[in-house]
Every structure is written in C-alpha cells, then in structure tokens.
Amino acid sequence: MFPEGFEEGGALRRVKMKRMIMMLLVSAAMSAPAVAASVTNKDADTQILVIVEDGSRAEVALEPGTTETICPSGCFLTLPNGDRIALNGAEDVEIKGGGASVK
C-alpha cells in the first residue's frame, strides 16, 4: 500500500545496523582480553614468591591482601610452602596458607 515507506525503513535499518556494529566493536575494544596472571595474597603475612620469567629469577614480596599482575607470557612460580607451579599467563592465583589455588 505504501511501498516507498518500507524502502525508507530499509535504509534506516541499515544505518541502525552500522551503528549497532560500531557499538559492538567499541564495547569489544573496551573489554579487550587481559591475559596476564594476577596473584592475590589472602594470608595475613607478607609472602615471598619466586617468579621465573624471561629467563630471569625474581623475588616478589606480596603484602597481605594485595594483588599483583605478573607474567604476561607464562612463568614459573615458587610458592612460600615450596610448591612450584607453572602459569600460562591468564590465571588468577590466590595465596592461602602458603599454598596457591589457581583459577
């Protein structure tokens, strides 16, 4: 009955679509994946971790309750209780009682 009206609707929909795609891209860019691992100390004492990354060994002291971002590309971690774990670089590690739980 009113074909021209429907055509206009089509053009508008395309504009809408573009806007939608833009919004999606923007939100995608905003939430770009964070890949580095993070270590949180849930103990009451400062814990010393030994991190082996890029061929070098480094000791990191972690205050109680703090979170540190480590090894973006994978590393080895020696925990206060003597356990050694390897991280790919996307994990969240919680230190509890000298041990670690990896998520």
Binding site: M20, L24, S27, S31, A34, G55, P72, G74, A86, N88
Partner: protein
C-alpha cells in the same frame, strides 16, 4: 669474511621474495588456524598415561632438544638464516616446556586436596593411624615432591632456553656488525692472491658448468625444455592477464601526445610492477620446475638461483628507470630532466644495477666453488669502487630542467644539495673500499641500488594509488569502463570501487615492499614471519594482549551471523508467516524479534570468537549500568517500550493512529522509536516510551470499522420531517456505507434561520471515509436541489417592527406629504427635461 657472504645470501633473499612472501602469508594463515587445535590435542595424551611419567619423559625430550639446538647454534654460528630458525625453535621449546609443567598442575591440586582431606598426621601420643592411611600419606608426599622437582627442572630448562634464544640474538647482532664493519687489509698481496684464485675458480667453474650442461643435455633434455616451457607459460599467463586487466595503465598509448601526470604515474608504476612480477614468476617457476625435475645439482642450484634472482633484479631496475626517466619519449618522463640527461641517467643506473648484480652473482659462485675468501673481497672491492665512480659521474652530468623548458633543451647541473650528496656517497664508497671496509661499501652500494629502487617504486605506487582513488578517476580506467558496461554500475558505485582499489594498492605496497626493504637490510624471512605472526596473534600493550586474527575471526563470524539472520528472517517472513496468513502486525513483530535475536546471538558468538572474555564484558556492563541509570535512562526505557510494543502490539504497521498531536499511519516500529507518517507525508519519529506511557488512539486497531458524521443545515422554513426523510433516503442509497449498524439521521437543533441535522453512518473501512463523505455530500445536495429545498439561512434576518397608533398616523402623514412634494416636479419634468437626467435615457 664468511660473514660477508652470509650477508650476501641474506641480501639475495631479497631478489625472489614475492614467492616467499606469498608462501609466508599462506603459512601464516595456516599457523593462525592450527594452534587452537594443537593445544587440547596435547593435554589428554598427558592425562591418559601416568601424568608424571609422561611429563618427565616430555621434559627429558625437551632437554635433549635444547641441547640439540645449542649444538646447532655452535655449528651454524655464522649462518644468519639458520640462526633465526634456531631462535624460533628455542622459543617454541620454551613454550612447550611451560605447557608440560602447566599440565602437571591438576595432579598437584588433586594431591593437595587429598592431603587436606586426610588432615594433619596424628600428634604424638594420639592413637596411630591405619597403615593404609600412613601409606597413602607417604605416597602423596612423595608424588608432590616429585612434581615440585619436575617443575623446578622445567624452570631451569626454561631459563636455559631463554638464555639460548637471547644468545642467538646476540650472535646475530655480532654477525651483522662483523659483516658491515670487518676490515680487510688492502695490499698488493691481496690482489696477487686473488688473481691466482680467480684463474683457478674460472677453471673450476668452467669444468663444473660444462659437465653439468653436458649431463643435462644428454640425459635430462626433456626435463630442461619442459621446465623452461612451463615457466614461460606461467609468466605469459600472468603477463597477458595483467595486460588485459590494466591495459591503459601499462602501455604508453601513442595517441596521447601529452599524457596527464596521473596517467604517466600509473603507467610508470604498473609498467614496472607487472612485467617484473611476470619475470619473477618466470624465474621462480623455472627454478621450481628445474628443481622438481631434478635437473639441478646441489653445486649448480645456488648458481642458477642467484643468476635468476640477479636477472630479475636488474630487469626490475631497468624497467623502473625506464618508467621514471623514459629516455626515449620526453612526454612520459616523470621527472623534469632533459633528453640527454635521461639517457645518461638511465645508463648510469642500469650500469650500477648490473655491477651490483654481478658482484652478488660472482660472490655466490665463489662461495659455491669454495674459492678463497680474498676473491670475494676483491670482487666486492672492485664492484664498490665502480659503483662509487658511477655515482661520481652521475654527480657531474647536467640533466636538470627548469619549469617550462622543453625536454630537448640542454640541461643544467644538479642542485647543490644533490650534487654534494652524490659526490660524498661516491667518494665514501670508494674510500671505504680502499680503506678495507669492503663489507660496508658493498652493503651501502646495494642499499643505494636496490632499496632506492624499491622506495622509488613504492612512492610511485603510492601516488598512483592516490590517483586511482581520486574522485571519478576509476570510472575512466578500462576496468572501470568494463564494470560499468557489464554490471551497469552507477557513478557512486564505481567511485567506491575506485576508493577500494586505491586502498588495495596501498595494502599491496605495504605488504610487498616493506618486507622487501627489510630483507635488504639483512633481516631474514623467518624474522619477518615471526613478526607478522606476532602482529596477527598477539599485540601486547602492558598486560593486555590483543589478537588481530581473533578479532578478525570474531568480526567475520559476526558478519556471517548477520547474513544468516537476514536469510532466516526472510525465510520465516516469506515462507512461513506469509503462508500461514498471519496478519501484517504479527509478521512485522516476529521479523523484528528474529532480527534482533539473531544480531545479539551473532554478537555473542563474534565476541567469544574474538577471544574476549564475556565476564570482562560483564564488567563493562556493570560499569555502564551506572551510566544507564543516569544518562541512558531514556534510551533504555524506549528500548524496553519497543519490546513491549512488539509483544503487545497496540498498533501495527499501517495503522491509523493518533498520538498526542500527531496523527497518521504507522510506518515502522523499531526498538527505540516508531515512525508515524502524517497525511502531509511528514514522518514523525515518536519515542516508544511516549507511545507506551501516553494515550494512543488507533482508528484501525481491531477492525477498520468506523463512523463518519456529516452535519447538514437547511433553511429554517423547511419541513424538518420532510428533510429528515429525504436524508435517510439519500443515506440508504449511498454506496460504501454499512447497513448494519444502521445509518441514522439526527435532527440536532433549529433556530430561526436553520434546521441542523447530522448524518451518522458506519463504514467498513474508515480509511475510505473521506471519499464516502464527499460522495454523500454531493448526493444530498443534488437531492435537495431536485426537491427545491432551500439550503442555509436567508440573506438577512426578518425583523418584526412594533409601532404605536400615533406614530403610525404621523408616519402616514409624512409619507403623504412627501408624495405630494414629489408629484409637481414629476409634472415639471415633462415640460423641461433637465440635462442631468440624460443618463437615464
């Protein structure tokens, strides 16, 4: 000095890079696809065997591999290309070591959990545990220690692997600076030694080549001819195809007396690139077929390869110089130089290319034949001096023309800056060679010749890309014309294609020429490969890693999802809904809902394919929700209202609605706003929340039934019942009105002037109301005229006057007096007619 030769290898890599690059990018695409599959495949293998033993075995293997790589580094300590490869292997090994130890983590967690379940061992004095528990405790502790030991081992291995990879980088850096800065004492001894070697080398070369040729001619004749024929075919196909595609761009049409600058530019670029690509294809195909047919021998293959590569490079340079300088035809010259100057310049540039190419060719021969290093040094020494001399000669020719001078006029010397630059570079090359820095001289000479040429080509290509993407430029090209003819493309479409073509040319330039220059500078294909791989898979900014391939895949999946959604939408709408006779409103709602659901789904799929964690999206959504609470409130409320409108459907597309002051037809219901087209054809966009919260009148909600009212007034003197009767008759006879509910005629009011009636009748389709009303009015008027019924009020009001008897007498008397007075002049008028009365006659 071997380093110099390595460098030469790295540089000659630049001669056949087009094929390599293509294969590199293909490989890249494959690489980008495989890692996803590779990792999960490895994990179950570890878990099925006893995990720890498996991990131990893997680690031992990794250690062995690391040692092997280390040994190979020691062996190939001066081979740049191998070192790059080894570095990549070391890095891969490092990753696999990490993966091995990561794979042991679940077991460690399980042990820890079990240990926690068992609790602490009983304190002293407490009753002893069962033997089974003690046994298990012991076993768990042992295993935990083993895992820790294993991880510690992996840690050490990883450190070693990283150190090795760093060492390789260091070695390569050293290699490069050695090659450039190594100094050879230039003395008469060197030359006498070299002259002895050269005689020997000539003999060996002659012997080798003759033996090979005789052998080939006798036993491999068919293969040789076949290889040449096949590669010629490949080159011809490429050449003719590109000529057909780009014909106005690569041939200098004789008809054009004074070609435009853009035309000259495009011709220069394409007439350089396309034949060079054809030549490179020929060379590459020849080598490939000769190699496949086993015509080449290990000692001959490098010579053939370098010969083909050098020839292609020289051809490229000659072609480029020809395109830019156009020594034969001044009208096609890109730079403003005289005819004589162009010829000289062409000759000089071509000679430099030949000398440089010969240097590399002869260097490779020496290397293959195992001649003494001094020979290579001496060859490069002479080549550098010749190129330096050629540069000096170039500085002293006089090619420059002023604006407006004809090409055949005598040229002027170079501008001072260029002159100084040429002289300094030439002298620098000669002195560097004389001082013994042959490697550096050779490197610089090659840079001047090849990198200069590549940059010039890039620049011309860049300009030509800009020319193609200029407004309406593409429509003028043969490709544009053909597209226009075949597909009937409009100007806008052609212009857009032109823009895309321009961008494609930029991309081509970037993808092909930047790696070419990098190869020139001594980087290896593997270097560029790994950079490209890194760029595509992980760009690291701080702690955030972005993968271009992932994002690209996400976007592609999203687009695919959109296409599928559109298709599904059309299918549901056209096939299912249309045939099930659902009304238009439901169809519209379903279509819209399917569309939005599809977009949302495609978005989710795309986002997860791009490697974006949906939980981090939730974080963003959480951050946004505050903003939504304040700023986006309206939009969200409109959005929700839109969803309600789609579900509830108080009106549908095509309905006649009244919302506030807006009245018209609904044209489109989208999720944020609804478009209403008024009768004046103005489109009013009404936010959905207004439609949901406010009152909306819909003339055509359940059905299109509607009542029309027509007020009719007739003269007050008419008989109301007669008029009413007439109106009822007329209304009953009118087409388009419903009989049930019955139309009625109401006598609404009367005054001294008019009688007012109203006709109330129902219509099946209110949209036809105007037409029916108009017809009805016409019919009523016709009937009234037929029946001689006076319409409307009299022209003036009839006013009754009251008068007292005295006044009446007085007025009568006055009137009589007046009549008497009027009479005598009337009698006098007969005797003497006055002049002022003539108009009456």
């Amino acid at each position: 000095m071997r380093a110099v030769r390595r460098l030469s290898l790295s540089c000659e890599g630049g001669l056949l890079p087009v094929f390599r690059l293509v294969s590199v990018f293909l490989a890249l695409l494959l690489c980008a696809a495989t890692p996803v599959l590779a990792q999960p495949a490895a994990a179950p293998a570890v878990e099925t065997a006893t995990p720890l033993q498996q991990a131990n075995a893997d680690l031992d293997k990794a250690g062995a591999q690391l040692n092997a790589i280390r040994e190979r580094v020691d062996i190939d300590v001066d081979d740049d290309a191998r070192l790059v490869q080894l570095k990549i292997e070391a890095e891969a090994l490092n990753r696999s070591i990490l993966a091995i130890s990561v794979a042991t983590r679940p077991r460690l967690d399980a042990i820890k959990a079990r240990q926690a379940e068992l609790g602490d061992p009983p304190a002293e004095g407490a009753p002893a545990e069962a033997d089974v528990v003690v046994e298990e405790r012991k076993k768990l502790t042992v295993e935990r220690n083993e895992i820790n030991a294993l991880t510690g081992e992996a840690e050490n291995l990883s450190i070693e692997a990283t150190k090795l990879s760093n060492r390789i980088t260091e070695i390569r850096r050293q290699l490069f600076s050695d090659a450039i800065l190594k100094r050879t004492e230039i003395s008469s001894d060197l030359f006498s030694e070299a002259s002895g070697a050269i005689a020997e080398e000539t003999q060996t070369l002659g012997r080798t080549v003759t033996a090979w040729m005789q052998f080939v001619w006798k036993f491999k004749r068919m293969q040789l001819l076949g290889a040449v024929a096949l590669s010629l075919m490949a080159a011809l196909v490429l050449l003719s195809g590109s000529y057909r595609l780009f014909s106005p761009y690569i041939t200098r049409a004789a008809r054009q007396e004074k070609p435009h600058y853009i035309t000259r530019l495009s011709v220069a670029f394409w007439s350089t690139v396309l034949p060079t690509m054809a030549a490179a294809a020929f060379a590459g195909a020849s080598y490939f077929f000769l190699d496949t047919f086993k015509v080449l021998r290990p000692d001959i293959a490098p010579i053939v390869a370098i010969a083909l590569g050098v020839l292609v490079a020289i051809y490229f340079l000659g072609q480029l110089a020809n395109a830019v300088l156009s020594p034969g035809d001044g009208h096609w010259r890109l730079v403003r130089v005289s005819d004589r100057g162009a010829q000289l310049l062409w000759l000089l540039i071509f000679s430099m290319a030949v000398v440089n190419g010969a240097d590399y060719f002869l260097g490779t021969i020496s290397e293959v034949l195992g001649s003494p290093v001094v020979l290579t040094v001496v060859k490069s020494f002479f080549a550098s001096i010749v190129i330096g001399a050629l540069l000096l000669v170039t500085a002293f020719i006089k090619p420059v023309l002023r604006q407006g001078e004809t090409p055949d006029s005598p040229g002027r010397p170079w501008p001072r800056s260029i002159f100084v630059l040429l002289v300094l570079t030439g002298l620098g090359l000669i002195f560097a060679a004389l001082l013994g820095y042959v490697g550096m001289a050779r490197f610089v000479a090659t840079q001047i010749v090849v990198t200069g040429a590549v940059i010039v080509t890039m620049y011309i290509g860049f300009l030509s890309g800009r020319a193609v993407s200029a407004t309406n430029a593409f429509a003028e090209t043969a490709v544009g014309k053909r597209l226009e003819e075949r597909f009937g493309l409009g100007q806008v479409a052609l212009d857009q294609i032109g823009l895309a073509a321009g961008l494609a040319i930029y991309l081509l330039l970037f993808v092909f020429f930047v790696p070419l220059i990098l190869l020139q500078w001594g980087f290896q294909v593997a270097d560029i490969e790994s950079w490209a791989y890194r760029i595509f898979t992980e760009i690291r900014i701080g702690t955030i890693t972005i993968s271009l391939v992932g994002i690209l895949a996400g976007v592609l999946l999203f687009v695919a999802g959109l296409v599928i959604t559109r298709w599904f939408q059309r299918w549901v709408d056209g096939n299912v809904l249309a045939r099930s006779q659902v009304d238009a409103g439901v169809r519209n709602s379903v279509r819209t809902a399917v569309g939005y659901a599809g977009v949302a789904l495609a978005g989710l799929v795309g986002i997860s394919a791009a490697g974006i964690n949906l939980s981090s999206l939730a974080l963003v959504a959480g951050a946004l929700s505050l903003g939504i609470g304040f700023g986006l409130q309206n939009i969200v409320s409109n959005f929700v209202s839109g969803l309600i409108l789609l579900a509830e459907r108080p009106f549908k597309v095509g309905d006649w609605v009244v919302a506030g002051t807006t009245e018209g037809f609904v044209r489109r219901i989208s999720v944020r706003a609804t478009e209403i087209e008024t009768f004046q054809r103005q489109t009013v966009i009404v936010p959905n929340s207004v439609l949901i919260n406010g009152q909306v009148g819909n003339w055509t909600h359940r059905n299109k039934l509607g009542r029309v009212e027509i007020p009719v007034s007739v003269h007050g003197g008419n008989d109301p019942r007669h008029v009413q009767q007439l109106l009822v008759e007329v209304v009953r006879g009118q087409q388009g009105l419903l009989r049930n509910p019955e139309p009625t005629v109401v006598f609404q009011g009367f005054s001294s002037a008019t009688l007012d009636f109203e006709i109330r009748a129902f219509l099946a389709d209110i949209l036809n109301g105007t037409g029916v009303k108009s017809d009805l009015r016409a019919a009523i008027l016709e009937r009234f005229r037929e029946e001689k019924i006076a319409i409307g009020a009299p022209a003036a009001a009839e006013v009754p006057v009251k008068i007292s008897p005295e006044s009446a007498e007085l007025i009568t008397a006055i009137l009589e007096q007046a009549t008497d007075k009027v009479r005598p002049p009337a009698s006098r008028r007969k005797a003497r007619p006055p002049a002022d009365e003539t108009p009456e006659t």
